[in-house]
Symmetry: C2
Subunit: 280 residues, 2 copies
């Protein structure tokens, strides 16, 4: 490792669920974390929670950092303030945690030593109260390097990810965006549509059980987050929706045609396939 | 209560998840349970597990019962064997646990003292190993009485349901079948379609997390059960699918039209509505 990122403060921009959790895990290893947040109230609460060694609303807090993690919501990541851009130390490695990688590379791909990455961990919580230790342990941390990505910078971000226990995965941004459209963004719309249609039947509310609760969980999640995902992964989400519709149409035709052996076969395929998504 | 059902053995036909759990809970209260099962191997295992006081493959085991619970899969419930029909004691209260009530009433509605009911409790397990204590505690137990239903028989089944801690709900069979189509049967197809479409992207398998796992759980469930539900609740399921499709189309149009404020509004409605399904 030519870039001695552990010997300099690590900058974290944003102390929400991801930024706060990352700061806590790094701090627990004795690494120095200096965080930039947007609002004074957030800074105060972050200090009370001891999320980082130093928390400030002044971009100068990043000055000494060799590695800066942009843990911002997608919209603020993709429309960075000029103050933030001016505060990023020349030569430092910059990475992000955004859940869509194509637009991030369009915005940041030409920045020297930028590495597009996405730690795939989360809870339903958000904001400065949400950060917790151990969030990344065993979870995928996906990087989507391009031909322009600095190999040393990529190694630094990999080192960071592995330092907090994540599983490192590299793939093209388009593959990542297609995969998250299928496994994260499509389920939001499916679940929301299910809640809306079931909400029309009062008895359904009284009878719903864990099956409904599970199927609808992400559909009933944070609406701002769901909207940002749809907005910045629109093409991949529309493609996923089209493919999903074809599959659902196929199942519906089996029901309409009372083709029960074929339906049982399709459901058996789904049953056999699902464990492959659940990891080791 | 004119029918002293507690003072006579209670018959349970089938010792799968529901029948076995019911037998265990009733036995724990000192009530005598006599169970009829289909196969000798099941009878032996049920005896080893002490699911009931008496377990037999001989329908005569039901002879003394004042209350018989048909805890059979839908297909066997709706095509009862002549041996079973002959073994049901004249004058006894009969109820079922089927997840669809319209076809059950068509088949059994003219049987004297039959009460169509559906304890809405379950786990992913099935078979003689699946039964466990406390399965019904706090869960809805829905009855769908008709004008022909014997009021005393209805009271007996209500007493049974409350004896194992369930919440008693009465409603028309059509309302029940519409509700379970929305909250149970539709999620099976949605989840199965999601698994199938995500299965086409190898990276999706590596990156899937708890959100995907939850959304797809019932879609990856028992295919025989899912097929029976679709088969015997076909009309209500097709109606639910049509209404779901309209909702999903609406969300897709907002994404296609990049109408982010309207999408955020729809997702916020889903977020606000979902807790109403989750019970107290």
């Amino acid at each position: 490792m030519t870039i001695a990122w552990r010997e300099r403060p690590i900058g974290v921009v944003g102390l929400g669920l991801i930024g706060g959790s990352l700061a806590l895990d790094l701090g627990a290893q004795g690494l120095r974390v200096q965080a930039l947040v947007h609002r004074q109230a957030t800074a105060e609460r972050a200090r009370q929670r001891r999320l980082a060694d130093q928390v400030s609303t002044d971009p100068a807090v990043l000055a000494d950092c060799a590695l800066v993690v942009l843990a911002l919501p997608l919209d603020r990541l993709l429309e960075p303030s000029t103050e933030l851009l001016a505060a990023l130390p020349p030569g430092s490695v910059i990475t992000d945690v955004g859940s869509v990688k194509g637009p991030v590379l369009e915005c940041w791909g030409q920045w020297p030593r930028f590495v597009a990455s996405h730690p795939m961990a989360g809870t339903a919580a958000a904001g400065v109260e949400a950060g917790l230790t151990g969030l990344f342990a065993g979870r995928p941390w996906v990087a989507t390097p391009t031909a322009d990505t600095d190999p040393e910078a990529l190694e630094v971000v990999r080192d960071l990810a592995e330092a907090v226990g994540a599983r490192w995965i590299e793939c093209p941004a388009a593959d990542h965006d297609q995969a998250v459209a299928l496994i994260s963004h499509l389920p939001v719309l499916l679940g929301a549509a299910l809640i809306e249609v079931a909400g029309q039947a009062p008895l359904a509310r009284a009878l719903a059980s864990s099956g409904f609760a599970d199927t609808s969980r992400v559909g009933g999640g944070n609406p701002e987050l769901g909207t940002l995902m749809a907005r910045y992964n629109r093409e991949a989400l529309l493609a996923a929706l089209a493919r999903y519709r074809t599959r659902l149409d196929g199942l519906e035709q089996l029901v309409r045609g009372s083709d029960w052996p074929a339906l049982a076969e399709q459901l058996a395929q789904a049953q056999a396939l699902r464990p492959e998504f659940l990891g080791p």
